[in-house]
Symmetry: C2
Subunit: 236 residues, 2 copies
DNA sequence: TGATTCTTATTTGTAATACAATATTACTTA
DNA sequence: TAAGTAATATTGTATTACAAATAAGAATCA
């Protein structure tokens, strides 16, 4: 068991190793993992640590275990693909270009509707937060890192402002995913246009105009598509 | 620790108890749970079982733990609200009428786009499955249970057929949620219309016509809204 | 006094061992 | 052959002991 990472606790490092192995395809769906005792030896850890790691993977839908039968990998259909850990394991094992496209398809489906819902149901504090996030984008100036963080915060706030908790995991997942994307390709292009678009979306939500918000979100995403393509061609 | 349920394994029953307690609001965000030893006594279980239950809840984003500091409840924003277990705990603790509306808002956002994606990317086996699911709806006749199951399978297949795994957890969650809904209010009304609408959606996807599929999904959902309202007024 | 460092105590984290429960497999028997 | 039964491997639970981390308080120093 190499210490490799900053995930302090042992069982979490073990979960990382096993999770990545599964995501990588080392154990296809239906496969049974090696018996606990054997895995303990291979990894050089106690059964306690291993089992706690397995419980985490089971909770995320990756595994399923029964006495005598063993611990087997469930069909991918049951995995919680929006889980931040899953996403992380995926990023570190599989090819990124394919999943960015899929991620964006989900975003395109949900974000305009989320914007409309936010315009309708957002609390005053949500609207204030959104305005603050937007202001941070403006204030970022030429600081790329600051701009990206503000951008991520802005879109995350949109999902939160729906006050519909079923939208939240999607927003969180997109935040993680987009951060990864931005770290690949440096930003800075079309920033003026981006600010104008975000301004439209922000005011539509703050002023409680659902249809305007949906439309603003759509145009914003429409333009972001080209950025995605740029990432896919340039970066990696 | 009462045996109460059919979840065979102890640590899973414990997870149910704690999960429901958290969902119910017994431990608001930021609260620290009682120390492990104390919880063990209260529940009458070993520390092993308790900790394995906690690892599961941590994996779902509900909890966070550190030495000395204790195990505390995270902000709801980080919970995996699409997780089947979370949904189940929620159904058994909180009021259903509120979340059905939210669930439907998510469905309205994602399903038309999922239908369009399915029409584009579905594998032959996906299309065959969808046709089979539709046929099962037709064959159900007056058998309410069979019809509901076929209906659930149909919509689940739509999400799978997108071949975009980020859509899958949503489809799974909706399946669980809709099953709960149907168990509240008996069905049977407008079945002829429902079959016609599903036929349109099915053929659009099978024949690979994205725009038609999206439109068919939208009309289908538009009519389903009234069913929801019916459920909310009649049932309970 | 105020800030800093050290000590202490509490809580989670990991290990090791033993046994129980369960389901597969193989065997036995009618 | 079929049904039932026993052997066996694997996960599930309990117990104990100790390690590690950190928050809080005590002691120290400027």
């Amino acid at each position: 068991m190499t210490k490799e990472a900053l995930s302090l606790k042992l069982h979490m490092r073990v979960a990382d190793v096993l999770g990545m192995a599964i995501l990588r395809g080392d154990y296809p769906a239906g496969t049974v993992l090696p018996p606990e005792m054997q895995l303990c030896e291979e990894l050089g850890i106690s059964r306690t640590a291993l089992r706690e790691a397995l419980r985490g993977l089971i909770a995320k839908g990756l595994l399923e275990s029964r006495p005598k039968r063993g611990t087997l990998v469930r069909d991918e259909v049951y995995w919680n693909h929006l889980d931040p850990d899953l996403l992380r394991w995926r990023i570190e094992t599989t090819d990124t270009s394919t999943y960015l496209e899929k991620m964006f398809a989900l975003r395109r489906a949900t974000e305009p509707e989320a914007a409309a819902l936010a315009a309708r149901h957002a609390l005053p504090e949500n609207r204030a937060q959104l305005a603050a996030d937007f202001q941070a984008m403006v204030d970022a100036g030429d600081d790329d890192a600051a701009w990206v963080e503000a951008d991520l915060a802005f879109h995350r706030t949109v999902y939160l402002a729906t006050r519909n908790e079923f939208f939240w995991p999607i927003g969180e997942m997109l935040a993680v995913s987009l951060r990864q994307m931005f770290s690949i390709a440096a930003q800075g292009s079309h920033r003026a246009r981006a600010i104008a678009e975000h301004a439209d979306l922000c005011s539509a939500i703050v002023e409680g105009k659902p249809d305007l918000a949906r439309a603003a979100s759509l145009t914003l995403l429409g333009n972001a598509v080209s950025d995605i393509d740029r990432v896919r061609t340039e970066g990696r």
